[in-house]
Symmetry: C2
Subunit: 740 residues, 2 copies
Amino acid sequence: MQALKEASRASGAATPPSIFDANLDVEYVITFRYANAGSSAQTGDSRTPEEQLERLLHTLDLAGLRTVVRDGGNGSLLIFTRIRSEKKLLGEIYRSRVRDWLHGIRPAAPEKETQQSLENEPFTDGERLRLVYSLITLPNSEGGAGITPKQGEWNLVESIFALHDHDFNKKWLKDWSTKWIIGPEDLKVMRDRFGEKIAFYFAFIQWYFIALTVPAAIGIFAYLFLPAYSSFFAICNCLWSVVFVEYWKRQEVDLAVQWGSRHCSSVQRKRAEFQFDSEVSDPVTGEKIRYFPAYRRLLRQSIQVPFALFAASCLAAIIAGVFSIEIFLVEVYNGPLKMILKFLPTVLLSIFIPIVSTILTGFATKLTEFENYENQDSYEAALTQKIFILNFITGYFPLFLTAFVYVPFGEVLVPYLDVLNVTVQHFGHDEKYTTSDTGFQINPSRLKAQMIYFVVTAQVVGFVVETIVPQLKRTVFKKAKEFDSRRKGLNTETVLDPPEEKKFLDRVRHEAELDVYDVTVDLREMCMQFGYLTLFSPIWPVTAVSFLINNLVEIRGDAAKICMEMQRPVPNRADSIGPWLHNLSFLTWLGSISSAALVYMFSSAELEGGPPKDLTLYGLLFSIMMSEHVYFGARFIVSYALSKVQSVGLETERKEKFMVRKRYLEESFGTENELIREEDEKTGGEYTGVGGVSSTEDGRALDDGALSEKFWRSQSAWQDSVNAGVKIMDIVRGTDKKNQ
Amino acid sequence: MQALKEASRASGAATPPSIFDANLDVEYVITFRYANAGSSAQTGDSRTPEEQLERLLHTLDLAGLRTVVRDGGNGSLLIFTRIRSEKKLLGEIYRSRVRDWLHGIRPAAPEKETQQSLENEPFTDGERLRLVYSLITLPNSEGGAGITPKQGEWNLVESIFALHDHDFNKKWLKDWSTKWIIGPEDLKVMRDRFGEKIAFYFAFIQWYFIALTVPAAIGIFAYLFLPAYSSFFAICNCLWSVVFVEYWKRQEVDLAVQWGSRHCSSVQRKRAEFQFDSEVSDPVTGEKIRYFPAYRRLLRQSIQVPFALFAASCLAAIIAGVFSIEIFLVEVYNGPLKMILKFLPTVLLSIFIPIVSTILTGFATKLTEFENYENQDSYEAALTQKIFILNFITGYFPLFLTAFVYVPFGEVLVPYLDVLNVTVQHFGHDEKYTTSDTGFQINPSRLKAQMIYFVVTAQVVGFVVETIVPQLKRTVFKKAKEFDSRRKGLNTETVLDPPEEKKFLDRVRHEAELDVYDVTVDLREMCMQFGYLTLFSPIWPVTAVSFLINNLVEIRGDAAKICMEMQRPVPNRADSIGPWLHNLSFLTWLGSISSAALVYMFSSAELEGGPPKDLTLYGLLFSIMMSEHVYFGARFIVSYALSKVQSVGLETERKEKFMVRKRYLEESFGTENELIREEDEKTGGEYTGVGGVSSTEDGRALDDGALSEKFWRSQSAWQDSVNAGVKIMDIVRGTDKKNQ
């Protein structure tokens, strides 16, 4: 492993040897929960855990991996895996680079000599782990072991995870906690370790953090000097969001080129669950392709529309219902137990929303599986889009409800909420439990208070929950598993550890309990946050300031979360933040509508946040239309202007491609110029003989051919033509002179 | 020229030898108008025509062209040019293919042996002419002669044109006039002759023609069975336009791939007029680049906005003014000379619109030149966009005016037009020249009549004008030139023709008088026609039927026009219909707004086309908003669905690229599979010795390293791991059993 370590050390993400050894050269750990075998017997799998273990280890061996088995505690085994030898690893890296080049991800083919190629482009820790992971999980047909945790024949395989590099993590966290700005170098280090997909998230949040300073500054200015619901602020905010999204699109490209992962989505991780109609062989490439007709998937996808409507209405109904109860209790109800009943809405929401969300997410997953995607990326994108709809409703609907229903129509609608009084009166009681006699008045501070709740309180709560809940969950699950093992009559003590490995194995067992990091969750959080800014920030202009502070902590908190509370993520590649990009665009568009409506409705209100005065429906529609079209115009101009200002990434890519081809050409033919000169010399030599023309004398003795020959021979050198021309001019002028 | 002809014959566009010779092997004819020399002396050019002729012929010779000079009549010379030799032509073709490959237009490099390469991919007539044209016109730095007609040092060069291939033209026209559908094969023949740019126009009009059958069928149905201004028809029409445009985008890609011109816009024809700030050498490719900062161009482009506003208001003011006069004269005025005065508006429009349009087009050209584009394509695109604005106003504004001003507000506004009566009354006369006392009523048939005028009459008139005007113009210009020559005292008789060439030279002199074909003009016509369909067809649902008939003739008429009334066009390449694609999208979008407004306003009218009843402003805005958003949704869905259904062209391109790389790889390394097998064998050989691990014994005697070694050695084969695992399971279970 000498050379391997040196290669790894030579790479950008220099790996000091002590770290490399701290994990005992283990690349992945596979947890094998034989205690589950009982339940799998019910699913018709009659094989014993021993048989499955034997198959697993044999398959891994065939794929070129070494294994060591240790006790994992609680009825599980830890299977430590490592690539068989340095040669095998280098071969895999080389193969993957060649494959990248074949698919157009790399502009140039790797050097022909493997050794040479690795010296020129040392591999990173991330690349190594990505390849070993694909070796474990890729189907056999693509050269992997085809291990799919928890599925089919591998139902006892619980998880596959890499071991954290604690030295690196410590240094990394310390580094980030002492600097304000995460620079491109830091992102590069991240990418080398955790892969492009996670690095893109950090690049995004970093760019978002920097960009937030603009609306924060404008927000403070608006807060101090402008009237509430200022249209100037709304316009600035909307334009900023357009520039932000369009500029990020460019940055994505630049980063993808810089990280060499552009177009990487064209080599996709196949989904093991993909069901194909037939297997056809590609007429051009000759590869076997699993075929599922596109129109059938499109048909299946169309089920999304009723699903989205159903899910949205479910959640919206719950929120609207609870909202009504809340309004009633807080602002109408005046009867007994008011102090306690006031908390009822919060309790109801906290119970119902998670339950319904979970059910709907389950539906969404089923639906996405039914849509039968071929690749992991498209599967994830489709699922993400569905979950975004759920998040959209739970995140923004309460504010929409307050702004566009409660405030403008509150005085008309709220009395209808007075069910209690109506009922009570119906039964002939005299007592009044509600304040309806004094006349209901909407609470003007409600909108702003709600906004502040979502923008400040919910963010802080979210951050805390994000860091605490996983730990709690872990503890509970661990206890549950211990209990389960005990119930099944297994020994929960791990007495079989070789003493010198005790510390190491304890660490691994701890890491095995950790959650799997899903970068989409963090991206979703940022995207939702961006939504509050574009959709509602006129309500509270300093929204961006709050987010600025939040994200300063968030970016570091997420780094810490990855290091400490999650298993080391598998370094996947990506060339974009994926579907979230569309969601960001969508939010800026919706923001142009929402901001216009807010400004139109509330800037005329007598009281800030109070009921709007003197509004007309066409005024509202007109301001929304105006704003929306200005938005489209602005987006067009910004993206046009940005496309004209050269993109570093695209330019680099174009040039690299050009150079690669040129080099190839030079290798094959000598330089292009020489070729041309040679051709010219050849043709020059033939010129005096006018060989081109005289050679037409073949069988066809056509008049035209002869005429042509005569025609071209009449002036065989350019000087002849000049003389002929001058003669014509003279004659034409001369004849005339004679006529005069 | 033997081999050359054979190569040409072998190509798709087989050129029978008789045709090849009918033009005496002439490739281009340059007209040199020495009679203009006098006027050029005023511009400070002191060189005599003889000197310029000598330079011209010498430059052409240096660029590798042969020349023959003949009298062109009316004070001009005809310079016949031909590429020097077959070798030179083959070399040029090969060079151009290599350049294409370097810029990513071709997936594969041409074969290394020139001869071999031409046998595999014979060149077409279009390719040959395109290359010779670039040899004549490209700047010296790029290997051409740098002839720029009418500019700078070549001010006496009037035009450069190719000679028509009359046999081919005759066959072509006969072929097309006897078939209904122009198929892909026919387009291929076109492309081989006239280049991709013109072929794209014909492909577009053909697809448009086929697609028109759908709205024509719906239109007939609507005309017969549905009420006027049916929303069903409007929705169908709008959806059709979306599908039409999105599907064409795909077809463009497929055609470009099939014709091998995709991405050809990346190798652009440089504009000779481009003014650069500085010359920098590209750090990557090392090429010299003429640099003009993008932000300066963006600044200059921003002048477009005031220009567009100014131009649009100019034209709109004229149209609105004349419209008012017309309304007044036709529907209000009742005084003397009514019969004659009625024609005044038409006369006024026919005078003013062309004059103002010409002035504005001049401005637009100046502005586009000021924007200083580097490439011919971007220059043309920018000019096209500006002229589209002018066309948009002159073409559609009259209908907008009638539909959205005259009909709804006519009864309020028209009485104000009654200036005459007001004036007359002011002077105390008693006579009433207008019918204002009887109360003005809008003319409900006006909108439909106007629509029919634009959709039928104007199309027919346009077609006739298109075919007759060039002939007229030609005759007039010829007379003018003859007169000019006579005035300058030149002999107008061409007495110097060798008798056997007389017929040929007469034909060439005729072709020299013809107009230059500009495909943008024809594309504009189709685009404007499409606009009537999307914007206004609810007014008269059978619009599409009229266009269907018109285009059946138009496509053949345009072919005839190219063959008979225009010089043979230079076969330029293209990978799209360029800026018109955006204009089509723009028109579909505007159509969604316009249709919604028309349907909302007029479907409620008592009388068809009469003044709308019971309308509300918010109703109008709401229906427009609805329609627009449905349009956006539909466009998104259609383009998404089309992107998922595999595109033949893109698929082919991707696969070709893949195969090229694979072949390259196989050439360089042997097949990929062999490589992998080889690697595997190597690693397999090392496996039994577990060499990978034992080699860690280097200087660093780390504890961790030793631990790692021991760790992996503990189970050196996979069977050991199985045994260890089974043992652990047994112990865990067994220990427990003992406990029980």
